[in-house]
């Protein structure tokens, strides 16, 4: 369903979320050299659209998600750029107003959410919390609403009376999803929603997110290092490397014809067990130090196509095809990799 929305979203003038030149840095104090975790990122998400963000650990993708919902740890700061949500700038909202946005407008399934429940409160109490804070459902009806939400994520309504330790990992992840959709947000951020879950639960969670989006028509940002899961869920995908989006395209385009060498190598490192490759590729080397990123292309040190130019100059994110952008001087050679 959401896959078809992509054609419509292209001509939707007002995006649900529009991020421009966003930079988020981490530093312990003012004298510290900051870690440039997110460094000048642009993208948009339309209502009903799913944008997938993929990249290795440490590439800045979770920081980007936390920036959008304004839930960065104390060391993290949005130092530049704009986050527009339904036209309103929320990147610099004061703390007091951020609370109005969280859960009600934008909600997030945090990484490891299944382990983030308070162990001494019942699941129902915890799902009720955002309903109470935003006073979206009258007090007398919250009980019923919690049971409805649990049913929406295929849990028995009486799970509300249970404590987190009584639930399996998959059940907890579904409860976390119920909590995230409690206030019917317009944008749902899911950070590694299937990591640490085994394949059967993984498939269930992916199907559930898709189904809920079809029902509720929220925009969705899915963050994962699991490229196969991202490919399945997303209309558009942004590939992040060293704090920057280095390629973005519709999922099918990215899968068929990547134009950034990093994307191409990531795809070659996948093992589809039904069609196993003879040789799986490895990306040699390690990601750049984001306290002191290289002056040219951040991938140059690991890139088989890198030349002198790549080490001297940073390649801009350029249009390379229909709805397709890549930041690589040698994007025309990527198909030969």
């Amino acid at each position: 369903m959401s896959k078809q929305i992509q054609e419509r979203s292209a001509d939707t003038a007002g995006a649900l979320l529009s991020v421009q030149n966003l930079s988020t840095y981490y530093s312990e104090d003012e004298t510290d050299v900051p870690v440039r975790a997110v460094d000048g990122v642009n993208f948009e998400i339309a209502r009903g659209e799913t944008y997938g963000l993929v990249g290795e650990s440490g590439c800045g993708k979770s920081t980007l998600g936390l920036s959008l919902i304004r839930a960065l740890p104390p060391q993290g700061d949005i130092v530049d750029g704009e986050i527009r949500f339904e036209g309103r700038e929320i990147g610099q909202l004061p703390k007091s107003e951020v609370k109005d946005v969280q859960w009600a407008d934008i909600s997030m399934i945090y990484q490891g959410a299944q382990n983030a429940f308070n162990p001494v409160k019942t699941v129902g109490d915890q799902i009720r919390e955002p309903l109470r804070v935003h006073n979206i459902v009258p007090e007398g009806e919250r009980e019923r609403r919690v049971r409805e939400l649990l049913e929406k994520v295929n849990l028995q309504p009486d799970v509300a009376e249970q404590y987190p330790h009584e639930l399996s990992g998959g059940m907890k992840q579904r409860a976390a999803i119920a909590m995230a959709i409690a206030c019917e947000p317009d944008l749902l951020i899911a950070d590694e929603p299937t990591t640490a879950l085994d394949v059967i639960v993984q498939a269930e969670v992916l199907n559930m997110l898709q189904q809920l989006q079809d029902d509720l028509n929220f925009g969705m940002l899915v963050i994962s290092h699991n490229l196969a899961a991202i490919m399945k869920l997303s209309d558009r995908i942004g590939v992040m490397y060293g704090g920057k989006i280095v390629e973005s395209a519709p999922a099918e385009t990215l899968y068929d014809a990547p134009e950034h060498p990093y994307t191409a190598l990531l795809l070659q490192s996948l093992i589809d067990p039904r069609r196993p490759p003879d040789q799986v590729e490895t990306i040699e080397g390690t990601p750049p130090d984001l306290r002191d990123p290289p002056s040219g292309c951040r991938f140059a040190g690991r890139c088989p196509l890198a030349t002198e130019q790549c080490r001297d100059m940073e390649p801009p994110l350029e249009v390379v095809g229909e709805a397709h952008e890549a930041a690589c001087f040698h994007h025309e050679e990527v198909s030969e990799l």
């Binding site: 394949v199 059967i200 999922a251 490192s269 093992i271 039904r274």
Partner: protein, 351 residues
């Protein structure tokens, strides 16, 4: 050999398997409050419940299944990291259960385990040199030249090159992929013949995962080490292994050649597991297992086939009778074993 040898066909080679497991069980009593324990029968968790398995020399065998299926307990029980409740584990013919603690300690040199989380498994206060020396000290390899040679050879074999550059580094100075290789090097200094590796690739990004898988393959080729790999990554299992065993609620329910198991699973549980793996092609619809995601606890096991409550093809018979572990026909030429009433057994040709 026993009288069995007259009825079963002789093995293809005269060589003994490196590891042979018969009717292995690991049951433990679920801890309950003392008051409850006065009134209720104790609950037995049957984490491993009758496993039969044999692994050949130089073979890579992977065990796959959902969390809670017992695969990690099985791996640890094989090496007596956890003591079994019943059954036999023969390593090159010696029954490990019969060994005293000190005999077992000596035997451990040949049988190593590599744990899944390198960040947790390595002492952050020791250098790579210290981390690799420690197992040798424990096993009485104290000659410094000998230690040095083994450390260099192990680091070279796991491709941490030049080895000298890594000796004085601490774990926090290494990447996840490098740490994973230090874990392997730590097992290799003892020159083992059999390694149990628990989720060797699951903590790693896809970009470096392949390197660890290739490493295991090289170690098998160069050092003739046999591997028992515990994983939920079926892609990795197929890429790497000779054979795969599928485990469900304490039992291996299907076993066969790696490619055959993935391409043509016979047991309905194997099918569900494999059907739920996402293919990366965005044009293909989302996968679904079709069996729900709730794994029952191995406490009150269902009667008959333990998979029947989730099984899409279960019949009345499955609820009543235990399925038999038997050979079934498969498209590949390899031996395929499964326990399912609904899969027709292989017809043995009359001689």
């Amino acid at each position: 050999m026993s009288s069995e040898s007259t009825t079963t066909p002789p093995p293809e080679t005269s060589e003994e398997p490196i590891l042979e497991v018969r009717n292995l069980e690991k049951h433990y009593v679920k801890s309950t409050g003392w008051l409850e324990s006065l009134f209720a029968d104790e609950e037995r968790v049957r984490a491993v419940d009758g496993v039969n398995l044999s692994i050949d020399e130089g073979e890579i065998f992977s065990i796959v299944g959902e969390s809670g299926c017992g695969k990690t307990t099985l791996g640890k029980t094989l090496l007596r990291v956890i003591e079994s409740t019943a059954g036999e584990i023969r390593f090159k013919g010696t029954d490990l259960a019969s060994l005293s603690d000190s005999e077992m300690q000596k035997m451990r040199q040949h049988l190593q385990i590599v744990y899944q989380d390198p960040f947790e498994a390595l002492n952050p206060k020791r250098t790579v040199r210290g981390l690799l020396r420690q197992p040798m000290e424990i096993h009485g390899i104290t000659d410094e030249t000998e230690q040095r040679d083994r450390i260099y050879r192990a680091l070279e074999d796991v491709n941490l090159l030049p080895a000298g550059d890594f000796l004085d580094r601490y774990p926090e100075e290494l990447s996840g992929g490098q740490l994973q290789r230090v874990l392997f090097a730590r097992a290799l200094v003892l020159d083992p013949e059999f390694i149990v590796a628990d989720e060797p690739s699951s903590m790693l990004d896809a970009s470096v995962r392949a390197r660890v898988l290739d490493l295991i393959d090289e170690l098998r080729d160069d050092r003739n080490i046999s591997f028992f790999i515990i994983t939920h990554d079926i892609g990795a299992a197929r890429y790497l292994s000779d054979r795969i065993g599928v485990m469900y609620l304490g039992r291996i329910v299907e076993m066969g050649a790696a490619a055959g198991i993935v391409d043509d699973p016979k047991h309905p549980y194997s099918k569900a597991l494999i059907d739920s793996i996402p293919s990366p092609d965005p044009r293909e619809p989302l996968e679904s297992s079709g069996i729900g995601s709730e794994v029952p606890e191995p406490v009150d096991l269902p009667s008959g086939c333990r998979f029947h409550p989730r099984c899409p093809v279960a019949t009345e018979h499955c609820r009543e009778a235990d399925p038999e572990w038997r050979e079934v026909p498969s498209a590949d030429d390899a031996v395929r074993m499964t326990e399912c009433h609904e899969v027709e057994p292989k017809q043995t040709p009359l001689e």
